[in-house]
Amino acid sequence: MNLNKVRFTIQVITFLLIVYGGYIGLDLGDKLPTFACVFNPEGTGGKCYLGMIQHDLDHPWQAFLGFAGIAFLISLFIFVLWVWVLNKAWCGYVCPLGTMQDWLTSLRKKLKVKFIEYDWANRESIKKVKWILLILLLLLPFMVSNSLLGLPKLPGGLTMPFCDICPGRMLIPAFVGDFNQFYIDFSNPTDLIMTSLGMIVVGLFIVGSFFKKRFFCYFCPMAAFQYIFSKQSLFKLYKDGSKCTKCGDCYNACDMDILEIADDIKNKNLVTEDCTLCLKCVAACPEEGCLEANFAGKTIFKSTKEGFILRMAMNQQIQKESNND
């Protein structure tokens, strides 16, 4: 199996369904663990749960004792179910922002521009950003409607703080020809700050994703939110540590520079908080059955010696062709 081709095809199909699916009546609901943007109301084939949860949390706490509380729990449960089905493959195969980043990476490769890497000294700090963003996006909308610890209520401009700064809000509607989300709101200081931050993040997203593979995924609060429920998922990435030679091929193939994939020979389940379950590591592993993608107890893709040789030959062929060009 040529993973690159399969993945590219799946990404294109899911991108079309998520961004344009609404035009053909596709409705995957409003609890998706991926950036199906609510600001693309007619085109979207589903809606991102991060937008939904921010909207739900912007209510007085008393409201959660009734219908709103039960509705909130139902929504959260459906989100968790979606995560249990695909785990973090939502990031590697479905997320339109992830796909956009992969396309920018391909463009950089074609232009033969050298990539950049995050400084290893700051990796732990970078990892924390997504958790901080997740906490803020859950806390701020709640503090708009509630006075927490005696603090005054926050201004209404913070009801959907992550949507304000999410590059998906600007870039996904742009794919259906709607550029109206590129704006700065001067009506009050909160909106001015949040919409300006949004524009800055879009600029950083475009340049960052061009130079660094999956630049935004390192900071993505959706990745953190998915990871909380990841352990119980049906889709898993298993590693047989006894077969690992620590050659580092899997680490070199990884877009997210996950060291554990090469170093960790103790844990069986290797889906980490940054993993996008793209399965490039499985494709790159030269050891028979060392890494495997498993769905509901069944192996769907595993590392093989033959497969590795075949993939290497393909890569060389691709390289030759690009050199001839």
């Binding site: 609404g22 199906a36 700065i184 600029g203 475009i206």
Partner: protein
Amino acid sequence: MYGYRKTMQKMTLVFLFCMISVANAGTWIEQRYVDKSAGNYDKELYLKEGNFPQSEVVENLNNPTLLYRYDYGEVFETDFDHGKINVNLPYKGSYHLFIQERYVEDSILHIKMYKTRVYNSKGNIEDSLIKEIRGKTVGSHFGKEPFEAVTFEAVLQKPIKQHHINCCVYSGDIVPIKVYFKQKQLKNTPIVITTQQGWEKTVNPDSDGLLSFEIPRNTYADISKNKRFKEQLLIEAFYEENKSGIYKKKPYKKIKYYLSIPLSFHTSPLEYTSKSAGFYVVISVIAVFSLGLYYYRRKKKKIVKEIWFEED
């Protein structure tokens, strides 16, 4: 003689005032939020009558039919109690409320239809469990099919806008409307628009029967402190049918239809947002970040010059 003239003038003025009042008198549904406790708001619906926006609550209706139509088409009957309309709805989401009353007066059968969109943020969990699990993505409260339970109806089509907000209507938006009689589009019936600030306009249909109007800028509203100023307008339409008959044992020679739809709108976001500023920021960030990277790499690539000392 002078006294007689003065009395006549006064009578004429009173008559004219009454005529204008009668001409502008309308009936419409009003939504109100009542703070029950600690920011917990309850929605209350009333039927109002008067010269828009001045009004009084309508306490009684003649042979009314009150129906809620849910976004997915299900229809629910509701009741009317001394001016208050029941808002106890099974599902969370968007509904259209239709109130139709019928009565015979001066040998004319009056059929009046009051319509509004109601968003219900609560619901009955037993009824709506499946809908909550399913969630909702597609669908809009604009451009709905005409409702078979009412005879004379206006349907708002998707507004034409130039700003970034999709959910609501704003001044500057163009609102297209279609008027239906017995579920067939009427192509020559005008509508009357009246805003809270007093702007009034009769809109005539185009060749396709589409009635379009641009929501006026609320010039007289002070938006310096509240840039998101909210205002209301009322859409009304009238239609007559030369048809005689008997309704509730009362004969009539013709039927007069009336409909009203209230619509809330805010100040246009174009008054306090800037698209060009947004694009400038994005382009500046791209330029600065790219140049920064370029110079950083160039600095790193620079080969250190070897220094040779003469060893004489």
